[in-house]
């Protein structure tokens, strides 16, 4: 069956370093992936979308890659700040494409000053 996996353990890094979060998927080939940020007690907020034919997408300090061979998307935050501390969710469609999203369990990022 199709699976979306994100590291459930929190990622702790020092301010100024680059944070790298991983999203792995199995048993299918999503046409795109979305990444969201969720703060405690709040709804997720959309950050970036990357399509299967795009190797990399950037937005300010954020960079997302999409490796269809490894079946993996990486989410990078460069020059991380304590304000970047949050849970980050990846969300591909449940099938190869379509109207819905399937959200991974998210990875909590803690940036220490």
């Amino acid at each position: 069956s199709q699976k979306i996996e994100q590291n459930s353990e929190a990622l702790n890094i020092q301010e100024g370093k680059t944070a790298t979060l991983t999203c792995n998927y199995t048993n299918y080939s999503p046409a795109y992936l979305q990444w969201y940020r969720q703060d405690p007690g709040r709804g997720p907020v959309f950050l970036l979308l990357i399509r299967e034919n795009e190797k990399e997408k950037r937005k300010e300090r954020l960079k997302v890659t999409f490796d269809t061979t490894l079946k993996q998307s990486l989410f990078h935050i460069t020059a991380s700040q304590p304000a970047d501390s949050a849970t980050y969710l990846c969300a591909p469609p449940p099938g190869n494409a379509g109207n819905m999203l399937t959200f991974g369990g998210g990875t909590r990022l803690m940036v220490k000053p």
Binding site: I4, S8, Y32, G41, G43, P44, L49, G98, N99, F103
Partner: protein, 113 residues
């Protein structure tokens, strides 16, 4: 600009009591609407989605139901709540499906006693 309102923010209900959570969207027409549930430390589980008035699709069998009486109003209901219904309920909208990002409300924290 578009906004999404969800209420109440917090709700404590006894087992067996009814439930009604409401979500409204402003500033857009004919949005796709979604209800998700998020258990503590877990990902988002899609409960219902709607592509138009009166059109509801259910993703998981449960004692919950959803209705869309107006274009920008989405209601989550239950006749008798179970302990397992506790969780964080999120409403979201998108402009169509596919790659369109989803925009979330701030959620309702539901505790069943």
């Amino acid at each position: 600009s578009q906004t999404i309102h969800q209420w109440p923010a917090t709700l404590v209900q006894p087992v067996g009591s009814p439930l009604s959570l409401e979500c409204t969207v402003e500033g857009t027409s004919n949005p796709n609407l979604y209800w998700y549930r998020q258990a503590a430390g877990r990902g988002l589980q899609l409960l219902f989605y709607s592509v138009g008035i009166g059109q509801i699709s259910s993703e998981v069998p449960q004692n919950l139901s959803a209705s869309r009486p107006q274009d920008r109003q989405f209601i989550l209901s239950s006749k008798k709540l179970l302990l397992s219904d506790s969780g964080f309920y999120l409403c979201a909208w998108s402009r169509g499906g596919g790659e369109q990002p989803q925009h979330f409300g701030d959620g309702t924290r539901l505790s069943i006693l």
